[in-house]
Amino acid sequence: MTSGSAGQSKKIKVRYFAWVRERIGKAEEEIEAPAAIATVAELMAWLADQGEHYAYAFENPKVIRAAIDRNHVQSEARIEGAGEIAFFPPMTGG
C-alpha cells in the first residue's frame, strides 16, 4: 500500500476478517495513514481509496465493524494511540 498524503504519517497495524479479509486479499498489514486521519470512519474512507480491492471491501462502510486493540469501537472513535485496528463484518458466532 502507498503511504498517505503530505505531512507526518502514522504507522498502524490493521487486521481484516471474514469477507473484508477476502475482498482485500490479506489478513493484516501495516499501513501509513496521513496524520490528518483522526477517526475510524476517516480511516475507512481513506482505505477505500487505496485501490479497487479496498474500494470493494469498504463499499458500504456502515456495515463494517471495527475494533481498536481488541475492543469494539464506534466509527467516531479516535484512532490516536491505537496499536491494532481491525475491520470485519457483523459477527455471526455462537
Binding site: 476478517f17 471474514a18 481488541r70 475492543n71 469494539h72 481491525a86 470485519f88 459477527m91 458466532g93 455462537g94
Partner: protein
C-alpha cells in the same frame, strides 16, 4: 445493574476455551458442578451445525475468529454475567475452523444455586456471543462458500439485556 458482585479469588470458575476439537459436554459440565456444594442448577446451551441452511444441504461451516479478542470479549461478558446473577460457575467453549453438520459449535454452561440465574445467564451469554464475539461463519455447500449474514433478531435479543435485569425471587 450489578445486583450481585463476584467475589474475587473465589472458587466460582469462569472457564473459557476456544478450540478446534469437538466439545466433550459431559466432562465440561461435571467440572462445573464438582466445584461447589451449593450448585443446585446447571443450564447448558449447545449450538449445533445444522445439516442445511435455508433449506439447502450444507457440507460444512467454517468458523473464523479474531484470536485474542474473542477470548477477551467472552471474558468481559462472563464477568458481566457474574455481576448480574449469583452464579457459581460459567463455562464457554467455542470452536473455530471447519465444523461438520451435526457437530457442536458452541457450549455455554452456567451453574447456580437456583434455576432462574442459571437460565438467564446462559441466554444472556448466548445473545452476546451471537452479536459481539468476533466469530464469523461461512457456509460450505455445493454452490460454493457463502458468509452467513448477521440476523437483526439476534441484535434485538442482545438489546433486551441493556436494561437492568428484573429482580426475581430466588426459587430453585
Amino acid at each position: 445493574m450489578s445486583a450481585h458482585s463476584r467475589a474475587s479469588g473465589d472458587a466460582a470458575p469462569a472457564i473459557i476455551r476456544l478450540q478446534r476439537e469437538p466439545i466433550a459436554i459431559a466432562a465440561a459440565v461435571e467440572k462445573l458442578v464438582g466445584v461447589r456444594k451449593e450448585v443446585g442448577a446447571v443450564v447448558t446451551f449447545t449450538g449445533i451445525c445444522r445439516a442445511d441452511e435455508n433449506g439447502a444441504p450444507i457440507a460444512a461451516l467454517n468458523l473464523e475468529h479474531y484470536p485474542g479478542m474473542a477470548e477477551a470479549e467472552i471474558a468481559r461478558h462472563v464477568e458481566e454475567a457474574y455481576a448480574r446473577w449469583p452464579l457459581l460457575g460459567v463455562l464457554v467453549v467455542h470452536r473455530y475452523g471447519r465444523i461438520l453438520p451435526g457437530e457442536d459449535i458452541v457450549l455455554v454452561a452456567t451453574a447456580s444455586s437456583h434455576r432462574q440465574a442459571a437460565f438467564a445467564a446462559a441466554e444472556f451469554l448466548m445473545d452476546y456471543l451471537k452479536t459481539r464475539a468476533p466469530f464469523w461463519k461461512q457456509v460450505e455447500s455445493a454452490d460454493g462458500k457463502v458468509w452467513v449474514q448477521a440476523k437483526s433478531a439476534d441484535d434485538t435479543a442482545a438489546e433486551r439485556w441493556s436494561a437492568p435485569p428484573p429482580q426475581r425471587d430466588a426459587a430453585k
